[in-house]
């Protein structure tokens, strides 16, 4: 039974050998494990798997400043001491963002994956595109941040904006999706919604509910700051309430979903209590809108749980329930002791009181209402995405017609001339 959606899944085997350095919590090896688990559940038979192209520097420079991309390209562990000033300027080399061997190639792969995914969606070659290697949402235009060097999400969204009037970005990483929010802070063409832990100077420190965007982008950045230990129930309820309202009001043409797995219980850097089911429930909910969907990975620092989570979510996107027992595979030992898809429940106290969540919800909904009540210039101006094909023709035809007309005129003139010539010729002939 094949899922009715066409799914494109992006994976490049080279990410497995990327190594951020000793003791660094970000381990790209988790992508190998995820892919392996996906295959051992035989999910590959229900989708198409692509190897992404390595994004060209010029593609990365669509968002990032050219000098930053150039610097990323040039820097190596052996030469970094020569560029201390630049390193500081671009926030490289500090513990979060070390310079390692194949840094730039790694960036090219994961950014290429998200860009390719966006292009496939644009060209209607698939309904859902998955790139677990992507989702590095902290990277800024001119600097690296929080394990992220290149912001593939922004690049992917920019690609999607070529075809879609409005893009909805949803972020369920435990950290605030500051890079994406920042990139689209001024625009109403991208609505960013981030659910994250906020407070106690938790990284990256941004993401207050009061940050709502500026200029045209005002009210188009939504932040849902949460406290430690939120559980499945309250998270999914809040998520569903807000996202359904957002989709209803904003009517996006495409959704980008960042599935950072560090919001799971027991993550090395996270502090939420979500189970894999709760996490995947969000994915299932977003899928139900039946809009083109770009799904990326993100954070996630307990390797086994990341692999479990993203495998389950791949299954969700493929409408496939996975048996709880993990089939034999090369990495089976990582999934000991119970070799199941379940993870242990978190033991962090839930500090999100009902009233706190209620307040946050009311505030977000209030901001959403402002969009609704504001004269919907943008809403009227831009037709929903499914009209676009017609609209394209309308737009193109006048051009063509004009072109045709000028051509006609030209031809007419030629004709006249020709006629004249003809006349002349005729005359000549006559003569």
């Amino acid at each position: 039974m094949r899922s009715k959606d066409r799914i494109s899944y992006f994976y490049d085997g080279d990410v497995g050998s990327v190594y951020f350095g000793p003791n660094h919590p970000m381990k790209p090896h988790r992508l190998c494990m995820t892919h392996h688990l996906v295959l051992s559940y035989e999910l590959h038979k229900k989708m198409e798997i692509y190897r992404p192209h390595k994004a060209y520097p010029v593609e990365l420079a669509q968002f990032h400043s050219a000098d930053y991309v150039e610097f990323l390209h040039r820097i190596t562990p052996d030469t970094q001491h020569l560029f201390l000033n630049d390193m500081a300027k671009y926030k490289l080399g500090v513990d979060d963002c070390p310079v390692f061997e194949n840094l730039f190639e790694f960036c090219q792969i994961y950014a290429g994956g998200t860009i390719d995914a966006a292009r496939r969606l644009n060209n209607k070659l698939c309904d859902i595109a998955i790139n677990w290697a992507g989702g590095l949402h902290h990277a800024k235009k001119c600097e690296a941040s929080g394990f992220c060097y290149v912001n593939d999400l922004v690049l992917g969204i920019l690609e999607l904006l070529k075809y879609h009037a409005r893009v909805l970005y949803i972020d369920i990483d435990v950290h605030h999706g500051d890079g994406v929010e920042e990139a689209f802070y001024f625009t109403d063409r991208v609505m960013t919604v981030s659910f994250h832990k906020y407070g106690d100077s938790f990284f990256p420190g941004t993401g207050d509910v009061k940050e709502i965007g500026l200029k045209e982008g005002k009210y188009y950045a939504i932040n849902v700051p949460l406290k430690d230990g939120i559980d499945d129930n309250s998270f999914t309820r809040l998520f569903k309430t807000l996202i359904s309202k957002v989709v209803e009001i904003y009517q996006p043409g495409v959704i980008v979903l960042q599935c950072g797995a560090d919001s799971l219980a027991g993550d090395r850097l996270g502090c939420f209590n979500l189970s894999i089911d709760g996490h995947a429930e969000c994915v299932r909910f977003v899928k139900k809108f039946n809009l083109p969907l770009l799904v990326t990975g993100g954070g996630g620092y307990t390797k086994e749980n990341v692999a479990r989570c993203w495998t389950v979510e791949t299954g969700v996107l493929l409408d496939t329930d996975l048996p709880n027992k993990i089939p034999d595979n090369e990495y089976i030992k990582y999934f000991a002791p119970d070799y199941s898809l379940n993870i242990q429940n978190g033991h962090i106290e839930n500090l999100n009181s009902k009233s706190y969540l209620g307040t946050i919800k009311m505030q977000v909904l209030e901001n959403l209402r402002r969009i609704q009540h504001a004269p919907g210039v943008q809403m009227q101006e831009v037709p929903p995405d499914f009209y676009i094909p017609d609209f394209d023709e309308d737009e193109e035809n006048p051009d063509e017609r004009i072109h045709q007309r000028t051509q006609d005129k030209h031809i007419q003139r030629e004709d006249e001339y020709y006629d004249g010539d003809n006349d002349h010729d005729c005359n000549m002939d006559d003569a």
Partner: protein
């Protein structure tokens, strides 16, 4: 103060040392200096300063000599590693040829006192240095060598920093200079406040003079400043002349003194109900004493309080549009004043740089409540610039209140303490005046130092360029859509046709001789692998599956594997040792990639397999596991204390279900 400074520095993360020392030094340049106590070569010209320096060195060192020496040593080693990029390893403490160890701190002071490396070399004073250091005579060249190796670069760096005065306006040169500018502006702001208060009152010419002096010193540089400082200190502080190292507090005392006097002489109303508010606002002035003054006198002029309220709200949130402009009425006469512009400039800088300022100090690691990496790993980062500032102030505040100086210099055990380092210490001092304690708490919470809500930075350097939607889809870019790997485009020869139903997993009833044994697991994994290989065909290789799993180990010789395991065991993670550096030394034939691959695919898997297995009651004596024989003694049966595991396994009890 010098030692406090060192202690901070040693607490710092390697990478932020430069930044920090610059910040500290900037701070000291802008005001009174930590450096004056002995570090700065440039500013230590007056002999009496050196007297005090030595005084403090000798006085304090007697008690906690070793502490400071080791702090300094640590700082030097970090500094060498960071600044000189660790081009060579320098053992600490340095030894002379005759086996005597050299006290770097002492050496540094001795040489600094004699005018620095160049001067000493020129005058040929190295023998004398050796003598002064107490190492006997005739070892000048050896001392010189040590100084050259260990301390010369530090000296140069400090010189360079102190000479580099025109840092204003270099906003784009990274956070370092921004911090500096911020500090200085803050300082100028403070003086501006004093000036304003003073001018408003026009009561006391003496204080006017004082403020003038401070401003002069503020703009004209440290030398003048320090002199003015000392002058004032002499005048204003009769009882605390021995408070040598608390330069910070001296200045604040002066500030407070001015304000205090102004206030007490002003015939104003008592705004008792505003007291709390006012207190809070006054803290913006960076002066604890000021606050105390308010506390004691509870008197205040209306316009001052309005101004301060405005400032407090601006300081809390420089970008908040609702605050509006400076209250107009009392300030109009000053609109042409240069300080007016300074206020605006300060606001601009705060507005521009505050978010960046804090972001540069933050790290994903930092925010971990329940870090399962080695806890001490990132402690060094915890102090932020803001904290340093507040803590410095805290120091001075408490000192100014007459608490004993030595009690504040800290003990080695403090070095690993977290962000609340100073609070904790306060609590540990039962003899601390209660006033002092509340003060220090409120200092840490003062609106100026509290982490303000971080804002999304805006501008062309931050936002993506999003084009207007034209209603027209852009040109179709059908290139670069990815290369299809699966499903295979053409059927390959040994394509496996019959498959297990999807999701069929291992059956409990496998035909193995010993279900659940190592052989059984290996058999099933290999079986699965073969199946996948057959089925995937070329995709198997394009996904690098041949480089996954324990198969990776096949290309390693037993010798190499043993070496790898030995190196890892010799450098346990729990001691925060990094084995990778050594690994490359021991296994030069393997590329880094190979090693990483081996680590994840073989080493960790084996260890995990071992851990999974070991905790069950029947211990498998498989050959592969002998590498862990040593480790087995450490663990109790049925209980995993996997302190060495980087796998951060949460499981209390691991059972083998296979």
């Amino acid at each position: 103060m010098t030692f406090v400074f060192f202690r901070f520095l040693t607490k710092l993360n390697l990478n932020s040392i430069t930044c920090w020392s610059r910040v500290c030094i900037r701070k000291s340049m802008a005001g009174r200096s930590i450096l004056d106590d002995g570090l700065s070569v440039a500013h230590c010209k007056t002999p009496d300063k050196f007297q005090t320096c030595n005084l403090s060195v000798n006085g304090c060192v007697k008690q906690e000599k070793d502490t400071y020496r080791s702090s300094f040593d640590q700082y030097v080693s970090l500094f060498l590693k960071e600044i000189c990029l660790g081009d060579s390893f320098r053992p600490l403490p340095p030894m002379l040829g005759n086996g005597q160890s050299v006290d770097l701190l002492k050496l540094f002071f001795v040489v600094t006192q004699k005018g620095g490396y160049d001067t000493v070399s020129k005058k040929g004073l190295w023998d004398k240095v050796g003598h002064d250091h107490g190492l006997g005579s005739g070892i000048g060249s050896a001392i010189r060598l040590i100084y050259n190796k260990y301390l010369d670069s530090l000296e140069r760096e400090l010189l360079k920093i102190s000479e580099d005065k025109d840092f204003k306006g270099q906003l784009w040169c990274g956070s370092v200079n921004v911090d500096g500018v911020l500090m200085e502006l803050e300082r100028e702001f403070e003086f501006f406040m004093l000036k304003v208060i003073d001018q408003r009152k026009k009561t006391d010419a003496y204080h006017h003079l004082e403020v003038e002096k401070s401003e002069l010193s503020c703009t004209d540089g440290c030398e003048a400043k320090c002199q003015g400082q000392n002058l004032k200190v002499e005048k204003s502080e009769a009882g605390s002349t021995n408070d040598v190292s608390s330069d910070m507090s001296e200045n604040q005392k002066v500030d407070a003194y001015v304000i205090d006097n102004v206030k007490s002489k002003v015939n104003s109303n008592v705004y008792a109900k505003c007291l709390m508010e006012d207190e809070e606002e006054m803290m913006v002035l960076d002066s604890i004493e000021v606050k105390q003054a308010v506390f004691h006198h509870k008197r205040k002029k209306d316009c001052v309080s309005r101004m301060l309220r405005w400032m407090a709200s601006i300081a809390k949130d420089p970008t908040d549009p609702s605050i509006g402009t400076l209250p107009g009425y009392p300030w109009e006469p000053y609109s042409s004043n240069v300080y007016w512009k300074q206020v605006l400039l300060a606001r601009e800088v705060l507005l521009l740089k505050r978010p960046k300022f804090s972001s540069s100090e933050q790290s994903v690691y930092l925010c971990q409540q329940k870090q399962r990496m080695h806890p001490s790993m990132f402690d060094d980062q915890i102090g932020s610039v803001e904290r340093l500032r507040s803590s410095l102030r805290l120091h001075s505040a408490t000192k100014a209140q007459g608490s004993s100086q030595s009690s504040f210099l800290g003990t080695p055990s403090d070095r690993n303490a977290g962000p609340s380092l100073f609070l904790k210490r306060m609590e540990n001092q039962p003899d601390q005046q209660s006033l002092g304690r509340t003060d220090s708490v409120s200092v840490l919470n003062s609106p100026y130092d509290a982490p303000i809500r971080k804002r999304i930075p805006v501008g062309q350097y931050f936002q993506a360029e999003v084009l207007e939607w034209t209603g027209l889809a852009a040109e179709s870019d059908s290139k670069w859509l990815g290369t299809i790997v699966w499903p295979l485009e053409k059927r390959e020869p040994n394509f496996l046709i019959e498959r297990d139903p999807i999701g069929k997993c291992k059956t409990d009833s496998c035909g193995c001789h010993l279900p659940g044994s190592v052989e059984c697991v290996r058999f099933h994994v290999a079986e699965k692998r073969m199946k996948i290989k057959l089925e995937l065909g070329s995709a198997f290789y394009s996904w690098k599956f041949e480089m996954m799993g324990e198969e990776v180990g096949l290309s390693w010789t037993e010798e190499e594997e043993k070496k790898f395991n030995a190196v890892v065991q010799a450098n346990p993670q729990s001691q925060n040792k990094c084995f990778w550096g050594q690994m490359f030394k021991f296994l030069p034939t393997k590329s880094r990639e190979d090693q990483v691959s081996y680590y994840f695919n073989v080493f960790l898997l084996q260890r995990r397999g071992y851990q999974n297995r070991y905790t069950s009651s029947n211990i498998d004596s498989d050959d592969d596991e002998t590498e862990f024989a040593l480790a087995t003694n450490k663990y109790d049966c049925g209980k995993t204390k996997l302190t060495r595991s980087i796998l951060s396994s949460q499981r209390k009890k691991a059972r083998v279900n296979l």
